[in-house]
Amino acid sequence: MSQRARNVTESGAPGIRHTSSSSGDFATDASIEFRHVGKSMKQGNQIVPVLRDLSGVIPHGCVVTLVGPSGSGKSTLLSLCNLLITPDEGEVYVHGREVREWSIPRLRQTVGLVFQSPAMFPGTVMDNLQYGPQLRGETLGNPKRVLQSVGLAEDMLARDAGELSGGQKQRIALARTLVNNPEVLLLDEVTSALDPSAARDVEEWILKVHEERGTTLLWVTHSLEQARRVGDWTWLLVDGQMAEVAPTEEFFETPKSDVTARFLAGELGGGAS
């Protein structure tokens, strides 16, 4: 557990909070707060609830690993934080302000999202790193340093981004997001498509960035080993509902609910690894 996260969790543990109103009753140390969030989505011809009355708080500088069976709503929950999706019910707060009250480009710079399959834009690694600043009419100050921050050599700048390996692409996608200096980083199974060595590499660089910048991380992962390694707190999502919220060690050592025990035993699918 990082020092910053440790300080935060000593002062106030993240977890499920039930608030009766939306009038400023959020945790002042919260990076992200979900309040009674509900979301339904179209699957085939049916509208299916994906998230149901979900509440929770992620303090500044904390690493929360989000686990759960496939289709439990983990990726949807991430997309609510930077408004790529809007909740049907409830509110999502980032730094105390409801996401729909933010300037949208500003929100998406503050809350960075790295996807499972990194999409590379046409051109070189340099073009990809410059992409974010260019969107705002700015130029990237020190691209070499950005590359170094994710453990890649400077001579990669001129390489065609489309020809990189999966691990390299994921690191470029991470670096591209870090260029925006996000205060919160949403990670959607960023290592699941990589081989174990590349996955471990990317994981270590993410944690390094977290240590250096104090970035809050909400990390969706299918790997329970990874969740246990990196998390300060772990949230278990089952059928769109929060099944358990606990400090990571406690979550794995002494799960409170039967659902968690069954999930850890691999009975619910998507958990055991």
Binding site: R108, A119, G132, R176, N180
Partner: protein, 250 residues
Amino acid sequence: MSLATLSFTLAFVAGALVLSIWLKLGLQKDIIVATVRSTIQLLVVGYILKVVFKLDNPLFIGLMVMLMMVVATQNAAKRGKGIKRVWWRIFVAITATEVATQGLLLGLRITPATPRYIIPLSGMIVGNAMIVSGLLLNRFISEASSHRGEILATLALGGTPKQSIMPFLKNAIRASMIPTIDSAKTTGLVQLPGMMTGLIVAGADPIQAVRYQLLILFSITASAALTSIVLGFLTYPQFFTRLQQLVLPE
């Protein structure tokens, strides 16, 4: 050409029907419907044009052009299923193209303001705009679907909807114009264009026919670009919500 002479050309249709039956293509019904429809439509239009030319009244010319634009819009809208209010967007794009092109032709007195010129030229401009609209919508939807990852990545980095979709809109605009440009490039080499052929068959001087054909060629090339760009820019906001979220047409 007499109707009796024209009826001999039905032998071509009969040939196509025989081939369809022989090869079990199952196109017999479509061939018959297409033959009957085109015969009725063209005969009706021929008589209507005769009346409109004789009357030479701006109201009837306007109604005729409006009918062309509505039918063209209706047809192109089938390619944009799932895009909200796509009908009106196509109609605006086609109208803008028709007004700009005819405005230039008539304003600079390149063609006389008579139904004999306005209606056939409008038919060619609107017809081509219809094809370009269908191609654009078709390609734009597939570009946006296949590049969903890049669009979402741009939005997630703080880009605007326009920034996120612009490369794919440009691809769609380019693709929609390729048939018009390719046709212009090979005109006269691969095929003799319809208007020129018509004029030559009717006894006009080939050089004069070429001049008219060039006028058409330049008009439809410009109108293809105009339709595609106007329609593309009117359509892309429909791929996003008010909160700058991607919603692809279903």
